[in-house]
């Protein structure tokens, strides 16, 4: 039962990742692209945790944590660059 649920979640988050990629390609402005990249990072975290769950290992949690932190910092840096034209003043 759990295997089917894990595969269902894999399919959902994989489709979500593809839709984010589509949004990055077709977006009109840079703000939408940053938003799509942020969503992509969050979906990638979910996929990593799911992969760790289906393999029964714990080593992917560190990777997920690091991706979460890097995603936050990079989104804030992008937003700040859009806002000020500069990241570290």
């Amino acid at each position: 039962m759990i295997d089917y649920a894990i595969w269902f979640a894999f399919a959902c988050f994989g489709a979500a990742l593809l839709m984010n990629l589509w949004k990055i390609v077709t977006a009109e402005g840079v703000g939408d692209r940053v938003l799509a990249l942020d969503t992509m990072v969050i979906n990638a975290i979910a996929l990593l945790v799911l992969f760790g769950m289906s393999n029964g290992t714990e080593i992917f949690f560190e990777a997920a944590m690091i991706i979460a932190m890097l995603g936050f910092v990079s989104t804030v840096a992008y937003a700040r660059f859009m806002l000020r034209g500069n990241i570290i003043e």
């Binding site: 759990i2 959902c12 988050f13 402005g29 703000g31 939408d32 969503t39 769950m53």
Partner: protein, 130 residues
């Protein structure tokens, strides 16, 4: 019995997580204007990842028998950072695409974040001249 119950819980939270993640990214494509597009990923996707992490927590505790709390750390971090990123992206959008005249008036001592102080001071000076 307990094993079946925990399997059921894991399955339910995984299904919910998948649906929320899918809806969040679908809303990113489907919704008409940028400010409403901000809703879909930041709320639904956070719930989606939260569901996956809860499922993983129960999985580690009940099926594999090794309790781990890394997942709570990731959940907490995402719940803290998602509103901050949404706020930053909204500020950048206001700064780039919205005119000050289109916004509702802020309360007397404050101005809209994302519009620079210089513009506000200039506008106030013009208003007091007129």
């Amino acid at each position: 019995m307990i094993l079946t119950l925990s399997e059921l819980l894991i399955t339910i939270s995984l299904m919910l997580a998948g649906v929320f993640g899918f809806v969040g990214s679908f809303g990113l494509i489907k919704l008409p204007d940028p400010m409403s597009r901000l809703h879909a990923p930041t709320k639904a996707t956070t719930l989606g990842v939260g569901g996956v992490l809860i499922a993983s927590l129960i999985h580690a505790l009940m099926i594999e028998g090794t309790p781990s709390f890394h997942e709570l750390l990731i959940t907490l971090f995402l719940f803290l950072t998602a509103p901050v990123t949404a706020n930053f992206i909204a500020k950048a959008h206001i700064h780039r695409h919205v005119e000050k005249a289109d916004l509702p008036d802020p309360s007397p001592d404050q101005s809209w974040a994302g519009l620079t102080i210089g513009e506000d001071v200039q506008d106030d000076a013009e208003a007091s001249d007129a």
